[in-house]
Amino acid sequence: MKRKAFKFGSLLLALVLLVAGLSACSGGETEEQMVLYTWEGMFPQEVLDGFTEETGIKIIYSNFDLNETMLEKLSAAKGGDYDLVIADDYIIEQAVAQGLVGELDKSILTNFQNINPLYQGQFFDPENKYTVPFGAGIPLIVYDPEAVDFEITGYSDLWDPRLEDSVAMIGNYRVVNGITLLSMGESMNTEDTAVLEAAGEKLLGLAPNIRMIQDDNTQNALLNGEASVAFLYTSQVTTALAENPDLKVVYPEEGLGFGIMGAFVPSAAPNAAAANKFLNYILEPENAAQCFNWLGYYCTIGAADELVNPALVVPDSVTSGEIVQNISADAEAVHNKNWIDFKAACGA
């Protein structure tokens, strides 16, 4: 009996040791490092390498696919694990509300005044305590004039029966619901559930025109002839135009919705100093220009405006746009339901 127990015990011990050994292996780095958490492909390799060369801090580039995945992960880590996060505006507001965001260290951020003030003081960070805006996007309609025989001027045209089975759409539920609201003359951020439900009804009418819904590479559908009209993120618009300059871009008459990506340091970041240093580094005009030319989003670092591709400097009309903001839980629920019903209607 004793032997049996001993054998069992030693087996258990071996298992525990194995697991312990594994955790020790994964946490035993001594080199200074900074964990950058954002979408894949947000920075050119040269900029990342340049920072490591200048400071000796190794950058660990970690990715998420959706803002919401990031928030799940960050709240599971209680604001730790990651040193710098870049995500969209509305999710930053939620992160701030949950206490997952730490204040910036302005003593390190000597280049803070390089930011274009147009993008500061936004709803998610009214006092500019937490974030450095890093790129702005305006989803726009792009179409192939050879495949569409009428002029598209606004969101309402997407409902036109002549576009049956030919619209490619980004997969952002707030934006797609939002343009439906704009086409009805309502605000993208309305919390009136009756209005939202009406928008859901209207959105179902768009389903027959939808060729595909996809959040990534949506421009490909337009370029390879799968769709003749597409509603695209800014970076996708830039890519599409670079590949086929004959495409027409529409700044919809109903008004624009725009979004800002912001960089923030989580509240329990293991190496907040390095994150601030990195932010200061990308605020240098030359580095910023390199980033935005690579990224293809509107430049938010005013000091870099002269250096960056002119197409990425905001047109004057942008200021009249509306930012997608967080709304009440009830309104959010209707948005969710609208979106699922809409997707299901597209496949039926």
Binding site: K4, K7, F8, L11, L12, L15, L66, E68, T69, L71, E72, S75, Q94, A97, Q98, D165, G171, Y173, I210, R211, M212, I213, Q214, A221, N224, G225, E226, A329, N336, K337, I340, D341, K343, A344, C346, G347, A348
Partner: protein
């Protein structure tokens, strides 16, 4: 089974073998599963993230919504058609493969295994290149003068079906092949000697003997086909909402864990029930399919 005198001594030793499996399964499979079932009865925090431990059935009641029911129906439909097509193409393949010379078998096995090692996402991109409007297939058909304008092949139900069958085919082939390979061919010869036609010999002898492989192939294709939602997203243009994508949606964008858990529990319960019934009917207890 064995002599009782050595039986006790034997058990002492073999008992040790299952300990790691028991420990691992209890800690990392049963535990998490119980937790998930518990979460499915919890109340979602209406304002933002997380949930509260207040018992509710609301998560299950919500599934009655026609949109969600449609997702379940579509998922099962797709899984059934995928499995049927996989049998239709995979069974002959596995069967013919099992009848090859040892050298031929080796070569075919190699050819079946290589795609396993290339990223499944990337192989789907291959289908995208192939099927798109200005893609290879449309180009070929146009060059041959069979069609004038490109056919819209991508982002349709058949495109999704092709992707699913393509991804799951190797499982069916391997399962069928393994039981064909184990078959006692002298039985077929005996049937032929007794005057049975090749077709008759196949249906009365070969087919029943390869049935276990076929039936386990059915499980190995049906189960994953319920969960491969990224194929529907990629080749179906996100238009066909399967339960898998619904769950993912609730986990991330919708951030409603209890509802996601309820969907998962219901899906698991339905599938377990189907597998149990299936095994009762077909008497399959072991899953076959080796390399």
């Amino acid at each position: 089974m064995s002599k009782p005198s050595v039986g006790t001594k034997k058990r002492d030793f073999w008992w040790m073998c299952v300990v790691p499996l028991y420990l691992f399964t209890l800690a990392f499979i049963l535990g998490p599963m119980i937790y998930m079932v518990a979460v499915s009865f919890a109340t979602n925090n209406p304002s933002g993230y997380g949930f509260q431990w207040i018992f509710t059935l609301e998560n299950y009641l919500r599934i009655q919504d026609p949109t969600y029911l449609q997702c379940f129906r579509q998922s099962f439909e797709l899984a059934f058609s995928t499995t049927a097509l996989t049998i239709l193409i995979g069974y002959p393949y596995g069967y013919y493969m099992g009848r090859l010379s040892p050298k031929g078998k080796k070569l075919m096995m190699f050819l079946v295994m290589v795609p396993f090692w290339t990223s499944s996402l990337i192989r789907l991109y291959g289908w995208l290149i192939l099927l798109q409007a200005k893609g290879v297939l449309n180009g070929l058909l146009q060059a041959l003068g069979l069609i004038e304008d490109p056919i819209k092949m991508l982002y349709t139900y058949p495109a999704v079906l092709v992707g699913m069958v393509y991804a799951l085919m190797p499982f069916m082939i391997l399962a069928v092949y393994s039981s064909v390979e184990k078959m006692d061919w002298s039985l077929v010869e005996a049937a032929r000697d007794l005057g049975a036609s090749p077709v008759k010999a196949f249906w009365t002898v070969t087919f029943p003997l390869t049935l276990p492989g076929l039936l386990s192939g059915v499980i190995l294709t049906f189960v994953p086909s319920m969960g491969l939602f990224f194929i529907a997203d990629l080749l179906g243009g996100n238009k066909i909402v399967l339960v898998g994508s619904l769950i993912q949606d609730q986990l991330t964008r919708g951030s409603n864990w209890p509802f996601a858990a309820a969907l998962a529990v219901l899906l698991m319960a339905m599938m377990t029930l189907m597998i149990v019934v299936y095994r009762k009917v077909t008497h399959v207890s072991e899953l076959e399919g080796r390399l």
